[in-house]
């Protein structure tokens, strides 16, 4: 052990500054969550061990948590795959275009992902509950509705609107990885493909393109899964906190509720652990599936 340290002193020294921050602010929080998940803790008194109680409570005694899980799964199963496929298809469609056009389009498609937190308020005007809102005035003019609809307040429409907005901003880091990955595919593979009788671009996509970019596809999937399971901002900013009848509550907004309003840190920890396990499990599963692509 000490010999290894001495022998590789330079490697370890270079790693140290980063690892201090990584362990203190990325790893330690997860360990704290796991530990506090078995306690009752309100920051006022020291944590008290209560076993699996928090986990039992989550599923048997917290109706809003069940709504939150349901909504998170709806978000994850709709915005996750659609956002992922959309990122890939757009990247694939712009791949053959001239370099300058491709650069401009990459920028246009990526900007929503970095500008979204700044323009949430704008969506209020678009989906405003009175007839001054764009969507309402548009639909009233076309005669589809005669009364303005409270898109972001009515539980019936809330999730649909939030899913649309979330899809708008979902061409993020996975999209960039796909744009880059498509550029590096060995051109001779395509030539060989033509020799082997590949006729159209869809066959080319399935037999050559996709199998050559499995690593980027896996990276994109992990990033997309993390993003869709932790959806919260769009709900808090637009549907309110809490939303009408908790109709847009997600696991992360539920976390914030128990942390910022109720100060139940033990219970919050248990929910965090649950969310984290869901992310790891889905990432593993998706990675396995993606390694089967094209075979």
């Amino acid at each position: 052990m000490i010999r290894a340290l001495k022998e590789h002193k330079e490697s370890y020294l270079l790693l140290t500054p980063y690892m201090i921050f990584f362990l203190a602010f990325t790893i330690a929080p997860v360990i704290i969550c796991i530990a506090l998940g078995f306690t009752y803790f309100s920051m006022v008194e020291p944590p008290r061990f209560i076993g699996w109680h928090n986990y039992v409570r989550m599923f048997l005694d917290d109706d809003v948590f069940i709504i939150a899980v349901k909504n998170t799964l709806i978000f994850a199963f709709i915005t996750g795959p659609i956002g992922y496929v959309l990122s890939f298809i757009v990247a694939w469609m712009i791949n053959d275009m001239p370099r300058t056009i491709r650069s401009i389009l990459t920028t246009i498609f990526y900007i929503p992902a970095i500008a979204a937190p700044s323009i949430y308020p704008m969506w209020f005007q678009v989906f405003s509950p009175d007839e001054y809102g764009y969507v309402n005035s548009f639909l009233i003019n076309l005669g589809f509705i005669d009364q303005p609809v409270a898109w972001l307040l009515d539980p019936k429409y809330m999730m649909g609107v939030l899913i649309l907005i979330q899809l708008w901003l979902s061409l993020g880091i996975s999209f960039l990885a796909f744009v880059a990955g498509l550029q590096t595919i060995d051109k001779s593979l395509y030539e060989a493909g033509v020799m082997d009788g590949i006729k159209n671009r869809f066959q080319e996509l399935w037999y050559i393109t996709l199998p050559s970019m499995v690593p980027q596809l896996v990276f994109g999937a992990v990033m997309q899964i993390v993003a869709s399971f932790s959806i919260a901002d769009v709900s808090i900013e637009l549907a309110g906190f809490p939303s009408t009848d908790y109709a847009a509550e997600t696991i992360v907004t539920h976390l914030r509720d128990y942390l910022n309003i109720r100060y139940e840190l033990g219970y919050t920890s248990a929910i965090s652990v649950f969310l984290f396990l869901m992310m790891v499990f889905s990432s593993r599963l998706t990675t396995k599936l993606l390694h089967k692509v094209g075979s």
Partner: protein, 290 residues
């Protein structure tokens, strides 16, 4: 050269003219949908009050004005902390956090990519797993850690968590890994130590990745609002300040001055991305998980 290139392009599977046309039309429509909300925000920010509230609402602006921006400025000067202080806070936090993250991540990425040492695989697996430890999962324990270490309500609470983020180190390591080994060997034979190799060879050759890491980290820190960690007005960032001075109950101010605030807040990350877009794409080439 030219001949070889054209013949290569010709060897791709057949692209029909109508297929290309359909593709351009579809991409054009999607690009418009993607950009529309941003254009709309900008147009709203230069609309006079009567145009903001007319029925039916119009997408275009008849008499553009900067009133909303001066309104926002006036609102900002009614609070006792001067606007310049918020700007300083934002720039200080985002710059310090971004540069420290980029420096430490590059230092750590070099041995992970090019050295062999015990524990290397464990460290890298932890970092890939760390890609999933997003603020959404860790903000609660972070609050506990900050309050236990007396960092709550200091710049440290905003800066430190960002330094240990996984994504930057992951991208750096993948990029450095593909740099050719022979130049490193040559430097070692010339007697350079590892720190010297890092600063003289690795860093100059990894600038695309460093700039990409800077972009992602700056955007993350710029877009971050963690109101729990800071409660002194004089330590808050521009985003927190602008979000609280535009009164939520006043629809007109919210539409006008609010749009102006949105435009100001969204510009820096967009400008940075446009500047280094090519480097980002170059770096993301290596961002695969096997």
């Amino acid at each position: 050269m030219w001949m070889i290139k054209t013949s290569k392009a010709g060897a791709k599977a057949r692209r029909s003219f109508s297929g290309n046309l359909a593709m351009y039309a579809l991409v054009g429509a999607l690009a418009l949908l993607s950009a529309l909300p941003l254009i709309y925000t900008f147009i709203n920010s230069i609309k006079p009050v009567d145009e903001l509230y007319q029925f039916p609402p119009k997408f275009t602006v008849a008499r553009p004005t900067l009133d909303n921006y001066s309104e926002l400025y006036q609102l900002a000067s009614t609070i006792w902390v001067p606007l310049s202080r918020y700007m300083f806070n934002t720039l200080f936090v985002a710059t310090a956090g971004t540069l420290l993250h980029a420096l430490f991540a590059t230092m750590a990425a070099y041995p992970l990519a090019k050295h062999r040492f015990p524990g290397k695989n464990v460290v890298f697996s932890a970092i890939v797993l760390g890609l999933m430890f997003v603020p959404a999962v860790t903000f609660m324990p972070l609050f506990v850690i900050m309050s236990e270490t007396k960092l709550l309500n200091t710049y440290g609470a905003l800066i430190f968590p960002g330094i240990g983020v996984s994504l930057g180190l992951f991208l750096m390591k993948q990029f450095i890994e593909q740099l050719p080994d022979p130049i490193l060997e040559a430097a070692r034979i010339d007697g350079a130590n590892e720190t010297r190799i890092l600063f003289r060879i690795i860093i100059p050759n990894a600038t695309p990745a460093i700039m990409t890491v800077i972009l992602f980290q700056f955007t993350q820190m710029w877009n971050f609002t963690q109101t729990d960690l800071i409660f002194s007005e004089s330590l808050k960032t521009l985003r927190a300040a602008l979000e609280q001075i535009v009164p939520k109950g006043d629809p007109i101010l919210r539409a006008g001055a609010g749009s102006a605030a949105s435009v100001i807040l969204m510009l820096p990350p967009i400008a940075l991305f446009i500047l280094i877009q090519r480097k980002v794409v170059e770096t993301m080439t290596f961002a695969g998980i096997k």
